[in-house]
Amino acid sequence: MSAEALLFYVFALCTVVSAGAVVLARGPMTSAMSLVATFFFLAGVYALLWAHTIAVLQVLVYAGAIMVLFLFVIMLLSMTEPEPAMKLNVARVVGALSAVGLGAALIASFWKLPTQPMGWAEDSARAAAFGTLKTVGEIIYTRYLLPFESVSLLLLAAIVGAVVVAKPRI
């Protein structure tokens, strides 16, 4: 097993453990901290999938901006005390079981996929350029320019919407 593959399995295990902590933690603060850890480990997984640009964006946007937003809201609502233990009811059990069933079905169907679908990575020049900022930026600013600009409009709408919704009186 190569060092890359070994690192992938280590990061994958850490991701699953910290994501489980997000779901199972009692207090929202613990959940938020586990979520930060999940995002960092996922950034490692992304880098191992040769998606360097997205790995950096993951740390900047998710672990940086979005998590700060979550922490602000948790502290603003002062929800630092842990919740009481959850009670089981039919809806919860059915919901959790259906999620587990979906996961089993997904993994069973993914497992039938070929492990090395295309032989493109043998071309070492192409593999070295794959996922770098240059390649991704080039494709975003040429073929996907219109969607990219509409995303800026979406973010503007989100900013205005957030202010309108959260302010008590305008």
Partner: protein
């Protein structure tokens, strides 16, 4: 030669998606439900990146980039809604917010 077989990456994405889904189904704190939605979005991103690597196609990275942008917009508006609900009802427990249920 890919360092990690494609099914293993996709299995990680599936596990992550299911953990997020279990959280959305089971948890009753609106903020934690939001965090679990973020987990599910990350699982979608992971799938995009895995297939992008397997096919040598950068378009998957562009899709992941858009998912991140949409997640940022979703988080800001969603958390604003949580604050507004907390201000008018004094709770973010989803079991106590039943006005829209029949």
């Amino acid at each position: 030669m890919l360092p990690v077989p494609l099914p293993h990456t996709l299995a990680l994405a599936a596990v992550l998606f299911c953990l997020g889904m279990v959280g959305v189904m089971v948890r009753r704190n609106a903020l934690v439900v939001f965090m679990c939605v973020e987990l599910m979005l990350n699982a979608a991103n992971l799938t995009f990146l895995a297939f992008a690597q397997a096919h040598g196609d950068t378009t998957g990275h562009v899709s992941a980039f858009f998912v991140i942008a949409v997640a940022a917009a979703e988080a800001s508006v969603g958390l604003a809604i949580v604050i507004a609900v907390f201000r008018s009802r004094g709770t973010v427990n989803l079991e106590e917010l039943k006005t829209m249920k029949h």
